[in-house]
Amino acid sequence: MLEIRNLTKIYPGPVAALQGVDLDIPAGMFGLLGPNGAGKTSLMRILAGLLEPTSGDVRLHGEDVLADPQGLWARLGYLPQHFGFYPNLTGEAMLLHLLRLKGVRAEGRSLRQLCGELLERVNLGYAAGRKVKGYSGGMKQRLGIAQAIAGNPELIIVDEPTAGLDPEERMRFYRILAELAENRTVLLSTHIVEDVAVLCPRFAVIRKGKVVALTTPSQARQELEGRIFEGIASPAELDDLRRNRQVTQAHLVEGRNLVRLYEPRGDAPAGFERVPPTLEDAYLVLMRDVGTRGDDSAEAPGDGHRRAEAETGAERPGATA
């Protein structure tokens, strides 16, 4: 169990990246969903022992990891959002180096053999002898995944792990994470709703440094049941809908706007049909809801700049934390 209590991080400015975050994260896969700049990376880096919080507690199985990050690192597998490698080492040498530093052992065979197997597992076996500086972004990401999962760490923290991965590799990684989550805590931070939908039985939504929701994907969807409508709209109609209704998504399909609306009262405009809600609908509705209530901005350095727009007020789905 990873317990987070009243975690606050204030950057010079001052900018409040985290504002009293409280979370209990049990064993298994746990998602942390939020827009860029919500404070996810700050939270991840604090949990990984790489960033000192302004105040608060973090305990892993009751042990204070803020006071003893060294103790945490011995049990941690960490894939940061932004990272790099020594450019002049080969992929194999780089991974081997990290395995040695982490004290990883392989039963019945050499560390080099294990290294090769891990590289195979992330589909980098063919590039093991190439220098890392020649790797593509996706290859580097996979090398990062290999080091994060090495040695069966007790706690795995992965920050935006699927960025840069092609669909096939993303699926491969999902499977690895799912397996890892069977008997340990895996904390997945992402702004890609699909990642959470596929992997996480529970997740928290964080926005402007605060946890705004703690729920499950099905519960989040259930909250919106009967309130999501879908229809086709011309550009002029779409503008009108944006002004008068809550548009959750608008996609161009065959040159026309396929629009999804959140209608709390269940009365859809003409031409719109009730459809089953998705997790993305729930997330976007939630983002609008919090933004409307006028919370303090909490964009942390390095967390990106894009924000969800605040529109009209809405009922708050999934607020069960």
Binding site: K9, F83, F85, A93, R100, E107, L118, G134, G138, E168
Partner: protein, 1215 residues
């Protein structure tokens, strides 16, 4: 081109550079340096700046130009290189490049903006430098301000800044910018200023032999990117006088104009040349780092499959992770350390700077050590120990610079590459990370030391004389130097951990190095703080670091302790997680600070204790502050009363009898003895003044065998006999003393002139090292604070009776008994009258020898060591058993000197002429009567061959002092010392010709002529009869010119007449007890023997009473057939001064066909020449022709080296 975009880029670059602490540290450094230099401690060596005459102004344009060039090149250019070189690199590191270049910004605008931004920053720095110079040099209160500071003239500051500083900085900015842009590697950016510094500091600014072709010199002046060589060679070293340097602006000529032009062109051109490369990099034609890729090894990457998807198996096929059966244990420290070191080394091997730095350092290190020069500019015969020690300072400095770069870049690498997020969240301990990195970087230092060792071995093998020994390198480089690298690496790591930013770390570390240089330059770096051991190590093959061994050990322990402290502190400071601002402020709570301090205290304990012990030892040592104060007190208390013999008459010494017990292992000695003193003054002496060494542990006195008490006047002991000593009366003054010598630690290493050490003992009466000396000793307690300018003598001073320049005024007899351990040989003046081995009270085997003077002496010394001896022809050579290289040559020189000087000057009155070797803790040779002492680096370790006969030369010179110095002791006054040193050189010329023929004499004559040409101070040189040793350049005039001019006089008078005159001089002055001769006495004695007194007067008038040096130039040389022979025509001109008859030869073939040393190529043809003589005054020229019966190959002025001249190599024309 859009000016708006250029300004936008420039503004951003400017603001970024200004925000960096590095820039502000530069301003601080410039301020401190301006302040330090304004104190007037550093002035140009021109004019009569040392003593007498006008002083050089510290704020003259000449002086300011020198300061500006040095400050700019050593400090500003370094910072500018880093700032400009990193301008493009930084954008790459933060990933901004690609985004920037997807905007309308063009490559040219980008380059122009970046360069403009960083240039404006450094224009601000230069302006600041100008302001600080003006403020400190005009307003700073200094001693003698009226003498050394001229009126304020803006041009004196502004012109050097605009003409030298600005182009130099633009050159540094431009070239570093281009290198940084092309290579995209920080290390190459740092390499550039360091490489320039090495090339300039050790070659362009320094290398200027007198034989250098002026055209080459011109070229080097043009090439030197700093302009300092031009300033030195074309402005400061030319005879202009201090008045010109003080008041006139520096006159720029074509060479410096060309130099400035190419500096600017290359600097700005390099920036312009970056534009197409930036464009090609963006378009993908060129890859960033192309230059560095060329410099490093290529490795073929394994062929990759066509695509990942093609080879990737379906995810569903993967076995479960659990099947990998991996687990985490705790990585052992050794394994973690090994992993870090391995990874760091791999990265290091890919650093192209390594492959540039290392050869450069090796070249510099070995080159520097190999060309070490000993006495009389003779090359030193290198042994393993000398090679190891000679390269310490240079190797330490360069490796520290290299380690600085690699340590900072290694620590920065995690940030630059983004690997820090992975590495810092791994369980490896922080100390493992830091130590691993330090170890890996230390391997660079180790590799350099290994390379330098291999190069040294090659040098020794090529030299072929001294054996290759490993242990001196091990002791010096591993035990002594390596801890410096450990400390430096730990310090730099600590700095980086403290500031967490590469530029500030660089700036602070460079600041620390500059501060160390500064304190070393001012002589304030003692054992306690001399962490790089600069100037401390003194090698001797006869004993390894005996003098300073304890201080060396303590210093190294302090250094290692400090390294441990910095390393521990760095581990504590080096945060793998980003600190929170608020919590950081909370950490500054006094209680937390105290707790942190207490935690670090154990680490600081060791360096504090050992450093404290060192500080105590330095302070209480013989060079410490209290000792200096005691010496000053001696001078202060007694100078007014006892300095003048007329005020405080001192009885003369008639006989000295001493018993000396030496315990070299304990550095101790005990002396018991007596002086027989006689009052030869015409007034009674009621108290005998004796100067004692205040470091002696005890001293007791007796007068005529009765214990006596002295009045101790701060070291000058006044002993009052029962009744005043009437004229003609004498007494026996007994003394008993003991002590350690030297007493305590040196201040900062180096050597000492006298000592009692296991490797050897040297004691003499030039100073109260082992005997109290009669009278007040004027040299004790004198430094720059109380030194006064030398006395001005009237022209006829020599006609009066003169005291001796050194030694006792009357010769005296001696009986010296010396007891040493049985394996030592102890020598003193006179003849060995007894030697016996016996057992001491403690059971040790001892040897007691007695030396008695068989002819009176004026000086006394004792030397002892574990010697082998070579005796021949009434001479003996006592040498270290390992130093057999030159003993035959030295022995032959001693024999020849004894035989021929006896024949030419005066019969050698003593029984045996000895030379004894002593450890090179001092670098002198001293010709005490019968008992000459040679430092091992002189003669014994001189690189000598048949061409140079260098060992013969130094031995002959020192042997000549038996006649010129002992038998004839020069009088006190100007020109006196030339009678000792100049005449010793003249005697050597004579002996060379006698023993080695014309070739040997020419070789030596040209050697000392070169030495004179290189070392003379043209603007302050005075006539020989005025030379008193007080000014820069007096040494070469005393030795080299003094010897040469006497040799010319010898030619003028003829050999027989000259020797007859000199014999007359000996007849007059050897028995003289009242008067001692100076140069005028020599000339007055010789004149009656001159066949042509008028020619004699003309010669002496210009060479002894005036300053002249001819310089001949041949031009328009041609040859043509004429009947059966050849007609050769040329014009010769005397560009210099003086009027001398000189021979000019048209010659063919090699004169000395076996003369490989001079690089001649043998043609097998017999040498032939035909000569003509010409007399040319200053500026005169004459067209000449010669008819020869052979086809001449060259025209040579003065083929037999009979006229001292400058630029002899140019007084030659090949036909």
């Amino acid at each position: 081109m859009s000016l708006r975009r250029i300004l936008a880029v420039g503004r951003l670059e400017l603001s970024q550079t200004l925000r960096r602490p590095m820039f502000w540290i530069l301003l601080l450094l410039l301020t401190l340096m301006s302040w330090g230099l304004s104190a007037g401690n550093v002035t140009i060596a021109s004019g009569d700046t040392a003593v007498g005459g006008d002083k050089a102004w510290i704020n003259s344009e000449s002086q300011m130009t020198m300061f500006v060039i040095v400050l700019t090149f050593l400090i500003t250019a370094f910072f500018a290189s880093v700032a400009a070189g990193m301008a493009v690199l930084r954008d790459d590191e933060v990933g901004a490049s690609e985004i920037l270049h997807t905007t309308p910004l063009r490559p040219a605008e980008y380059v122009a903006g970046k360069f403009a931004g960083v240039t404006v920053t450094f224009l601000f720095a230069l302006t600041w430098q100008l302001l600080t110079l003006v403020v400190f040099f005009q307003l700073m209160p200094i001693e003698n301000a009226a003498e050394v500071r001229g009126d304020f003239r803006l041009g004196a500051y502004l012109r050097p800044m605009l003409f030298f500083a600005l182009p130099n900085v633009l050159f540094a900015l431009g070239t570093a910018f281009a290198v940084g842009e092309r290579a995209r590697r920080p290390i190459l950016v740092f390499f550039l200023p360091v490489a320039l510094l090495l090339v300039c500091g050790f070659f362009l600014w320094d290398w200027s032999p007198s034989w250098l072709d002026p055209r080459i010199n011109d070229l080097l002046m043009v090439v030197d990117p700093s302009g300092l060589r031009w300033l030195d060679e074309a402005w400061l070293s030319i005879d202009r006088g201090v008045e010109v340097y003080n008041t006139e602006p520096v006159a720029y000529d074509w060479r410096i104009l060309v130099n400035r032009a190419w500096i600017l062109l290359v600097g700005l051109g390099a920036v312009a040349a970056s534009v197409p490369h930036v464009a090609r990099t963006l378009s993908g034609e060129a890859r960033p780092g192309g230059l560095s890729r060329l410099l490093r090894r290529r490795r073929r990457d394994e062929a990759a499959p066509a695509s990942a998807a093609a080879t990737g198996r379906a995810a569903i096929d993967d076995p479960r992770l659990a099947e990998l059966a991996m687990r985490r244990g705790r990585a052992s420290r050794a394994a973690g350390l090994g992993a870090v070191v391995r990874a760091e080394v791999r990265e290091l091997l890919h650093q192209p700077g390594l492959y540039l730095f290392v050869p450069l350092i090796l070249l510099q290190t070995v080159g520097n050590a190999t060309f070490a020069i000993g006495a009389f500019d003779t090359p030193i015969l290198l042994t393993s120990g000398y090679l190891a020690v000679n390269s310490v300072s240079i190797v330490t400095t360069l490796v520290c610079l290299l380690l600085l770069f690699y340590t900072v870049e290694s620590l920065q690498r995690e940030r630059s590459t983004g690997f820090g997020e992975l590495l810092y969240s791994s369980p490896v301990a922080t100390w493992t990370l830091l130590v691993g990195k330090a170890l890996a970087n230390s391997l660079v230092g180790a590799a350099i030391l290994l390379g330098a060792f291999v190069a040294s071995v090659i040098v020794l093998l090529v030299q072929g004389s001294a054996p290759v020994e490993t242990w001196p390198f091990f002791v010096t480089w591993i035990l002594l130097v390596a801890p410096t690298f450990v400390l430096w690496t730990a310090f730099v790591t600590w700095l980086y951990a403290l500031v967490r930013e590469r530029y500030t770390a660089y700036a602070l570390a460079i600041g620390a190095l500059v501060a160390t240089f500064y304190f070393q330059f001012r002589g304030e770096l003692t054992w306690t703080f001399n962490w790089p051991l600069w100037g401390t190590l003194q090698w001797s093959d006869m004993g390894t670091y005996e003098l300073n061994r304890q201080q060396l050990v303590l210093n190294r322990v302090t250094v290692l302790g400090a390294a441990l402290f910095f390393a521990g502190f760095a581990v504590r400071l080096f945060s793998r997680r980003d600190f929170d601002g608020l919590r950081s402020i909370q950490r500054l709570h006094p209680r937390l600070l105290v707790r942190t301090t207490l935690r670090l205290a154990p680490l600081a304990l060791l360096p504090l204790i050992t450093g404290g012990v060192l500080a105590y030892q330095v302070r209480s040592g013989f060079q410490g502050e209290p000792a200096e104060k005691l010496a000053k007190d001696y001078w202060r208390k007694n100078f007014a009363t006892f300095a003048d013999d007329r005020d405080a008459p001192v009885p003369v010494v008639r006989h000295v009898e001493v018993r000396v017990e030496l315990e070299p292992a304990e550095r101790r000695f005990a002396v018991e003895g007596s002086y027989e003193l006689v009052n030869e003054h015409d007034v009674a002496i009621d108290a005998v003044a004796m100067t004692a060494n205040r470091a002696w542990e005890e001293i007791a006195w007796q007068i005529d065998g009765v214990e006596a008490t002295s009045e101790d006047r701060e070291g000058l002991h006044l002993l009052r006999p029962a009744r005043a000593l009437e004229p003609g009366e004498g007494l026996r003054l007994g003394f008993r003393l003991r002590g350690t010598h030297p007493a305590g630690a040196t201040k900062a290493g180096g050597g000492v002139p006298t000592f009692v050490l296991p490797s050897g003992v040297v004691l003499h009466t030039f100073e109260p090292s082992f005997l109290p000396l009669p009278g007040f000793q004027g040299g004790i307690g004198v430094d720059e604070d109380n030194a006064f300018e030398p006395r001005e003598y009237p022209d006829d001073f020599w006609e009066e009776e003169l005291d001796t320049a050194f030694g006792q005024i009357r010769p005296f007899t001696t009986r010296v008994q010396i007891t040493t351990p049985a394996d030592y040989t102890a020598n003193s003046v006179g003849t060995l009258t007894s030697s016996r081995e016996h057992t001491g009270e403690d059971g040790r085997a001892l040897r007691t020898v007695v030396w008695e003077s068989d002819h009176p002496v004026k000086l006394l010394n004792v030397v002892a060591g574990r010697y082998d001896v070579l005796r021949a022809g009434g001479t003996a050579l006592f040498y270290h058993p390992g130093h057999t290289y030159n003993i035959d040559e030295m022995s032959s020189a001693l024999q020849a000197a004894r035989e021929h000087f006896s024949e030419w000057f005066y019969e050698f009155p003593w029984n045996e002429l000895k030379v004894s070797e002593f450890p090179a803790l001092a670098g002198y040779a001293q010709g005490f009567p019968t008992n000459i002492t040679f430092s091992e680096g002189i003669g014994f370790l001189t690189e000598s061959d048949e061409g140079s006969n260098a060992a013969f030369m130094v031995t002959a010179h020192e042997a000549a002092h038996q006649w010129w110095g002992n038998l004839i002791t020069p009088g006190e006054g100007p020109g006196g010392n030339i009678l000792s040193e100049g005449m010793a050189h003249y005697s050597t010329l004579l002996l060379h010709e006698e023993e080695h023929g014309l070739r040997g004499r020419i070789e030596f004559a040209r050697r000392i002529e070169d030495s004179y040409a290189e070392d003379r101070q043209v603007d302050s040189e005075r006539p020989l009869v005025k030379i008193d040793g007080s000014r820069a350049g007096d040494t070469t005039v005393t030795y080299d010119k003094g010897g040469w001019v006497m040799w010319m006089l010898h030619q003028l008078m003829g050999r027989e007449a000259t020797l007859a005159g000199l014999q007359e001089l000996f007849r007059i002055y050897v028995p003289s007890t009242d008067d001692h001769p100076v140069l005028q006495d020599l000339l007055a004695t010789l004149r009656p023997y001159a066949p042509d007194p008028q020619a004699f007067d003309e010669f002496t008038e210009q060479w002894y009473f005036d300053v002249v040096v001819p310089e001949y130039e041949i031009r328009d040389a041609s040859k043509q057939r004429s009947g059966d022979g050849w007609l050769t025509r040329w014009t010769v001109r005397n560009k210099g001064t003086g009027r001398m008859p000189v021979e000019i030869a048209a010659s063919r073939g090699e004169r000395f066909p076996d003369d490989e040393a001079r690089g001649a190529q043998s043609t097998g043809e017999t040498y032939r020449d035909t000569r003509v003589s010409v007399v040319l005054g200053a500026g005169e020229e004459q067209a000449l022709e010669l008819r020869t019966d052979f086809e001449p190959q060259q025209i040579v002025v003065d083929p037999d080296a009979l006229v001292l001249q400058l630029e002899r190599s140019r007084a030659l024309a090949r036909l």
